[in-house]
Symmetry: C2
Amino acid sequence: MSNRIERVEHELPEPPWRTPRKQPARRSLSRETIVEAAMGVLRKEGIDGVSMRRVATELSTGAASLYAHVANKDELVELLFDEVAGEIPLPEPDPARWREQVTQLWVDSRATLLRYRDIARAALGSVPFGPNALRVTETTLQLLRLGGVPEQAAAWSADVVGLYVSASAVEGAMRAQREEGRGQWDDEAGQTQEFLASLPADRFPTFVSLLPHLTSGTEEERFRFGLELLVSGLAALATGPREAGP
Amino acid sequence: MSNRIERVEHELPEPPWRTPRKQPARRSLSRETIVEAAMGVLRKEGIDGVSMRRVATELSTGAASLYAHVANKDELVELLFDEVAGEIPLPEPDPARWREQVTQLWVDSRATLLRYRDIARAALGSVPFGPNALRVTETTLQLLRLGGVPEQAAAWSADVVGLYVSASAVEGAMRAQREEGRGQWDDEAGQTQEFLASLPADRFPTFVSLLPHLTSGTEEERFRFGLELLVSGLAALATGPREAGP
DNA sequence: TTCTATCCACGAACGGCGTTCGTGTCAAAT
DNA sequence: ATTTGACACGAACGCCGTTCGTGGATAGAA
């Protein structure tokens, strides 16, 4: 952070009463400062706002300078993802409450990802193996095992649920972005409603008859519904909550 | 198709023995020809290969010409997605076999999407309301209702499963792309194995102990596992297969 | 048939992107 | 004091989506 301030001052003419170059004026860039700057852009503008040029500008330098610390944009995005994963709150596993805890963990994961706009897209492009993402997976696996979910099922579930959480977060971010782009009069939501209402009931009878149910509920409610399906499916596979192993 | 040929001939000097301009040399572009050309590029190179310039080049014209028929790239991608959705095979609903049919429908959906590389990304960016996508949703809803799944659950499940199928297809496409980019000696898979094997068991005890299970199975097997969780969760909500209403 | 209005194909350009290269400069090692 | 090596950085390359203005062909009116 102090590095950032240093760099900004560097642009101004040196105040002559201060000993110049007390702290290194170079060496101001580092993985950490770059990720920090990128996180700010990410939060404000989403992943498409995070361009090498944009992040570099934030640090008062040129895009080329970043490549000494980061292999390419993909690597930077992976670093960002893991930084975000570090903000997911982890529970203290309690075998008696594994279902509740595992559900909460995934709801929190989705919410945390959403706070950083469409960062979840990074999780669908490359399996997240950063240290913080690993901690989330580790906790997930612990909870499932404590709940008596068999090993193979627990392992594959972690994969499945990661996909589901990421997909839901991406969709949520896209919807938020779309809604943000509209003024309040230009309501795309209304147009969609109108379009759906105009669908021919003879071609899509079930769809039309279920329209009220299809459009009901918030996105988080729908997400929780899917989670519930998955968790109850897992509970059915479980050998009962186990305090000690079989 | 004949339009495409016409355009190509148009580049050559006119053979003087042939009546020129028999068929319209202009009017050669249309939504259909554009989508057709884009589908070819999509299949070969994925969604990132489908640039307006690239598609235009395929039609021996310039990018600007496409904008008379298609609002922008997003709209083109939506058209592509629905075209792909049209290739998903739909079952003849049979109440007795609803679980099997619904599972097969979703497995087929994923496989069809995967045949067109990462086109599934389009489904996460905008809810697919094209006619062909609607037909798939309609069939899904029919099957669930025939199986006795309650209305609200059926409606939300269609949403949930759409997300899951798309996410799985995106992940599969990304993996395929990564594997394609490597020569056979430069095995990233091996490096990943090595990395995972080197993880400290004291920090990620459950993860490490489940490593064999985490890396086992094909991607489709894992996908089917998640599907099974969802479907059995739905079956638990169902009021038994119903030939007639409740 | 001739004129005119409309459509639309298209080249060029704008402002963005990720990435590479070569240069120059500074801090530490000798 | 000199060398050396790391690294900041401007410029450039080749992409991208999209817009604008031009000009030519076509279809309908006269």
